[in-house]
């Protein structure tokens, strides 16, 4: 494990040429516990690219709030990690700087959008990394790379200094090898921030307190609508995971969240609508790429954005602009928000009966590079189990649950009610302790 800055920098130098998990290192990083940040979280000592051609050389004038908190707690930011451009994607194939490869199989994607953070931890370049979540962008790559991935409750962690994608869904998340490390890190970065008015004033919990408490008597709901279509090894793995919880004394029963099946449809309206507004700031005037084409101010906007943004970002801006445009607002954006409200009510009802809700984190293990790039919709469906937690704002964690026949990681998703992170770590730590999958070593990592 690369537990010092020097060993982390060495591991990155050795492994990154093949993995492309890291976009930039800080050779002058101060002493401390090494950590990597997804390159959409701003720091003053390194450029922030969002893996886009529209932000060449951009250096933030301020540190993100999570960065200030990490530095104060003795962490040292050694690297910025690869992502799908502006966190839009599920494979890092939409990065302007090339795909991140999966440390378990270099022909497969690492997932996304925080694929660089997940691969860097899985390959043991760093013991921990931060990513960001809008619809599963920490949990999905963590699942595909066999590491722990947390999406905290919306508002638990300040978004100040996270480049905005969809402000009503975005949340900074954590990738680690173990649940306990993840809990410790959440204690560092969580808490109210006057610079993010959506951050919660609720006191920060002692997230490690119940990590050894087991699951006896706790109620786990298996989301019927999510798992009824599961097949093959993903189903078998999920059922084996349920048995682990049962053996620990957990009560595992079927739960119903009827609206969950509409999550991807709702997500791609709500998230893209917000993205189309947030990304209007990249116009070639105040920062970022400016087209050399000349012309009027309007032409400058069109060309700078047309040249700077990649295809997936444009697709999402277009879909979001469509959903908010006159004549379609009610039938798309309004309707999506109404279905989201139904989903929120469904989750509330389910959490009256259960302490946790369970699904696999992803419908399949890591897929081959290139397998979904020509079919945006099939890529979107990678997030079918993760997007609901973002839409209703609850915390959720991805925990390694074993391997496919091809020795690719599989993952259990545990969801809890709003601000239930402490309980989430309790269940995750139990599962991890019983199974030991978190200790498995990816083939592509230092000896």
């Amino acid at each position: 494990m690369s537990d010092t800055v020097a060993s982390a920098l060495r591991a990155i130098a050795e492994l990154n040429p093949r993995l492309n998990a890291v976009l930039r290192v800080n050779e002058n990083a101060p002493e401390g516990r090494p950590i990597a940040l997804k390159d959409n979280i701003v720091t003053t000592d390194m450029p922030t690219s969002c893996a886009s051609r529209i932000l060449p050389g951009f250096v933030s004038p301020f540190d993100a709030t999570v960065v200030s908190r990490l530095r104060a707690a003795g962490w040292s930011i050694v690297a910025k990690t690869n992502l799908d451009e502006f966190a839009m994607g599920s494979s890092t194939e939409h990065s302007a700087f090339g795909v991140t490869r999966n440390p378990w199989n270099l022909d497969c994607v690492a997932g996304g959008s925080s694929g660089g953070s997940a691969a860097a931890v899985a390959a043991r370049m760093v013991p921990a990394a931060l990513g960001s979540e809008t619809g599963g962008s920490v949990r999905q790559p963590a699942a595909l790379c066999g590491v722990i991935g947390l999406k905290p409750t919306y508002g638990r962690v300040s978004r100040n200094g996270l480049v905005a994608f969809a402000s009503g869904l975005d949340q900074i998340g954590i990738v680690t090898k173990t649940a306990r490390e993840c809990a410790e890190l959440l204690g560092v970065i969580a808490g109210h921030d006057p610079l993010d008015s959506t951050s919660s004033a609720r006191p920060v919990d002692d997230y490690t307190a119940d990590c050894g408490a087991g699951v006896r008597g706790l109620r786990f709901g298996v989301v019927r609508e999510a798992v009824e279509k599961l097949e093959g090894e993903v189903r078998a793995n999920f059922e084996a995971a349920l048995d682990v919880l049962r053996r620990g004394g957990g009560i595992v029963e079927e739960a119903s969240v009827p609206a969950i099946g509409h999550a991807i449809a709702v997500y791609y309206i709500v998230a893209n609508a917000e993205a189309s507004a947030n990304l209007s700031r990249f116009d070639g005037v105040r920062y970022g790429h400016r087209s050399a084409g000349g012309g009027t101010l309007k032409e400058l906007y069109f060309r700078s954005r047309g040249e700077g943004f990649g295809d997936e970002v444009k697709r999402r801006i277009m879909l979001g602009t469509f959903a908010l445009s006159a004549g379609y607002y009610d039938s798309y954006y309004g309707r999506a928000q109404a279905v989201r409200a139904l989903m929120r009510a469904d989750f509330s009802s389910a959490f009256e009966k259960f302490d946790y809700l369970l699904t696999p984190t992803t419908p399949e293990p890591a897929f081959r590079i290139g397998a979904k790039t020509d079919d945006p919709l099939s890529m979107y469906l990678s997030d079918i189990f993760t997007a609901p937690a973002n839409l209703v704002g609850i915390p959720a964690i991805a925990v390694p649950s074993g391997f496919s026949k091809e020795r690719l990681p599989l993952s259990l998703q545990i969801m809890a009610p709003h601000f239930g992170e402490r309980a989430l770590f309790r269940a995750a730590a139990f599962f991890e302790g019983e199974t030991g999958y978190a200790m498995s070593r990816a083939p592509f990592s230092p000896l």
Partner: protein, 92 residues
């Protein structure tokens, strides 16, 4: 929902995005496919959602000037004497 090429052009104009003809055709086809999937929402009975309001309104901080540590020139593509330089807009 079928997105025609003209409709894609209209949306691109709203979104301030330049596309060449081939890219516009491709975008229209991809949007059609994605929106056809999203159209499943039209079949959801949302009458039960009528009583729901957003979970909490977004809290806003006081809008007062604060200190700005930035040197805005540092990231500006074109800067002159305290101003961002843009093409002439008057008379455009």
């Amino acid at each position: 929902m079928k997105i025609s090429r003209d409709e894609a052009k209209r949306i691109a104009d709203l979104a301030h995005l330049a596309f060449d003809d081939a890219a516009l055709d491709r975008m229209a086809a991809e949007m059609t496919k994605i929106l056809t999937y999203i159209d499943q929402l039209a079949e959801v009975d949302i009458s039960g959602a009528a009583g729901f309001s957003p979970p909490t309104p977004t809290p806003l901080r006081e809008d007062v000037p604060g200190s700005q540590p930035a040197d805005p020139a540092r990231n500006a593509p074109a800067w002159d004497d305290g101003y961002f330089v843009v093409p002439k807009v008057i008379g455009e």
